[in-house]
């Protein structure tokens, strides 16, 4: 390593929060395996993250020692599993700085959380903030995941409201030049991604939030990619709703989170009807429990919530500041390394500022499917295709992209393996 002297009074190297990546890697059993005769190089964490032993064990221990249904029994096991489930909720609330535990609604994934909020809008909503019809507008952006596009399109079809969106700049950032016109008195909700799963862009939300408040609209952030990678404080961000998903943050699949301001959640209609979400049920009609139970009909994903709680413990022990700094250093390294590959073009910010550890690119004349296939033969797992964000591909006029996405267990050696693999790809298709 080069001995770099940083002038006194400036932040020193050791001031940065750090952790031992090799020790972290040792916690992830899957990272020890081989793929096609090569050590696994997992560069698809933006799709789903790998799971540490601590999470795998927490789920197994829950089933082995505490399993029972929640919130319906007086017996010991029922009490233990209810405590485990509600304990996970409390961990989530603390992790994102939620003022109240009741603001954390467990869903199946981020997609369900986004649909749940979209479902609350309609012509007959009790609360005028959710009343939606012809002439009203909803604002998203061109860099959304399909799960933050389609629910709003369906809502607009149902109600006659109009869907509008932020465009993107050439460098893959939100184009805010028409902010004041786009977000206006007719806008009911602005729902945008916090960190893009394709471009890696981390959106600065302050100006948008200020405008949303000015016109009295609501603000939802899709934090599926940001909560796993960046410290999050919902009060700081002044959002009304955020959605994220457990499997991208070391947790199990089958568990997601909707966070919403309690006052809003309690005016929203239920999403699914069934057990556990009611206050009382008569044959002539029912009344509903307050949040979060109102939105958790049926037996919830209990073990998955417990697993998510263990994942949050793990991330807290490493420290989210340290995770974010690791991402930043790795991204800086990878952007430079990929820049040396002939014919490679990066889509999204090319500087490690205002972006996360997800890099999408094309290789001149070689289809991403072929890139991914050759990389796989070398053990390197990347995602190829349109990444559930087809409008981004349309915006940049590419049929598909190759994406490498990193996490706290990713090393610079793995970035090197990617770059070597890309040389091999170019040889096969030369």
């Amino acid at each position: 390593m080069t001995a770099l002297t940083i002038p006194a009074g400036m932040p020193q190297y050791d001031d940065k929060p750090r952790f031992d990546v090799e020790r972290v890697r040792a916690d992830f059993p899957i990272l020890g395996r081989e793929v096609n005769g090569h050590p696994l190089v997992y560069l698809d964490s933006g799709n789903t993250s790998q799971k540490p032993r601590q999470v795998i064990d927490a789920v197994a221990r829950y089933y082995a020692e505490h399993n029972a249904n929640v919130a319906r029994s007086v017996h010991t096991l029922g009490t233990e599993s209810t405590e485990a489930y509600e304990g996970a909720r409390a961990k989530v609330a603390a992790f994102i700085g939620a003022p109240s535990v009741d603001e954390v609604v467990f869903t199946k994934n981020a997609t369900e959380a986004l649909n749940l909020v979209a479902h609350a809008f309609g012509p007959h909503a009790q609360d005028p903030r959710f009343r939606l019809g012809p002439g009203d507008e909803i604002v998203i952006s061109e860099m959304e995941h399909h799960s933050n596009i389609v629910p709003w399109q369906l809502l607009c079809e149902r109600t006659g409201a109009t869907l509008r969106w932020f465009g993107l700049t050439e460098s893959g950032r939100l184009d805010e030049t028409n902010l004041d016109e786009l977000v206006n008195e007719r806008t009911k909700i602005v729902s945008i991604v916090h960190m893009s799963n394709v471009l890696g862009t981390v959106n600065a939300t302050a100006r948008i939030t200020a405008r949303v408040r000015e016109v009295g609209a609501l603000l939802m952030l899709d934090c599926s990619q940001s909560v796993p990678h960046l410290p999050m404080d919902v009060v700081d961000y002044d959002a009304d709703f955020i959605a994220f998903t457990g499997h991208k943050m070391l947790g199990p699949t089958g568990i997601g989170v909707l966070w919403g301001r309690l006052e809003l959640l309690n005016t929203m209609p239920p999403f699914l009807g069934g057990g556990s979400m009611i206050e009382t049920v008569k044959m002539t009609g029912s009344t509903f429990a307050p949040a979060p139970a109102r939105f958790e009909a049926g037996t919830p994903p209990i073990a998955q919530a417990v697993g998510l709680g263990a994942a949050i413990d793990y991330l807290n022990a490493v420290g989210m500041d340290a995770v974010a700094w690791h991402d930043k250093e790795l991204t800086a390294y990878a952007l430079d390394a990929l820049d040396t590959v002939p014919g490679l073009r990066i889509y999204g910010p090319k500087v490690p500022v205002g972006r996360g550890a997800t890099i999408s690119f094309t290789l001149d004349g070689i289809h991403p499917h072929d890139v991914g296939q050759v990389l796989d033969s070398l053990g390197v797992q990347v995602r190829v295709g349109h990444h559930c964000a087809k409008p981004i591909c349309d915006r940049f006029a590419v049929p598909a992209l190759t994406r490498a996405s990193f996490y706290l267990y990713t090393t610079t050696d793995e970035v090197d393996a990617l770059v070597r693999g890309l040389d091999q790809v170019r040889k096969v298709f030369a």
Binding site: N36, H367, P368, H369, D370, Q373, V374, S377, V384, G385, H386, K390, C393, P399, A400, V428, F429
Partner: protein, 150 residues
Amino acid sequence: MQLDQLYQEIILDHYKRPQGRGLREPFAADVHHVNPTCGDEITLRVALDGETISDISYDGQGCSISQASASVLYELCNGRTVDGALTVHAAFVELMGGKGQIEPDEEVLGDAVAFAGVAKYPARVKCALLSWMALKDAVAQAVALEKEEV
């Protein structure tokens, strides 16, 4: 290396030098098929002369497997009778569904035997089949139109 089974020389040759590519007139049917998981697309046209497929023309974008497959399809099916082409189609679909366990018949499949290795890569089978599904669709439409006109 395992990869050689997938990217056989024949496939790479067809990818780099596609046969019959480009959209031509006249045509009896024109179809557009996409592979929604990866964004591969093909537009394919067929022209009929009685029972014979007198031209298959196509254009699209996609990976080497999907593009090479379209080129092989052109070589095998262009100028055949409708029944002849559908026989090749059936053999190719069977090969792709065989998980690498089917011994392809070179008499029927010609260069398409090179795709036997693709059948072992479930994620790529759809790429190989894209143009063949488009062909079946286009031929069915063209034949139906011809019947209407008679």
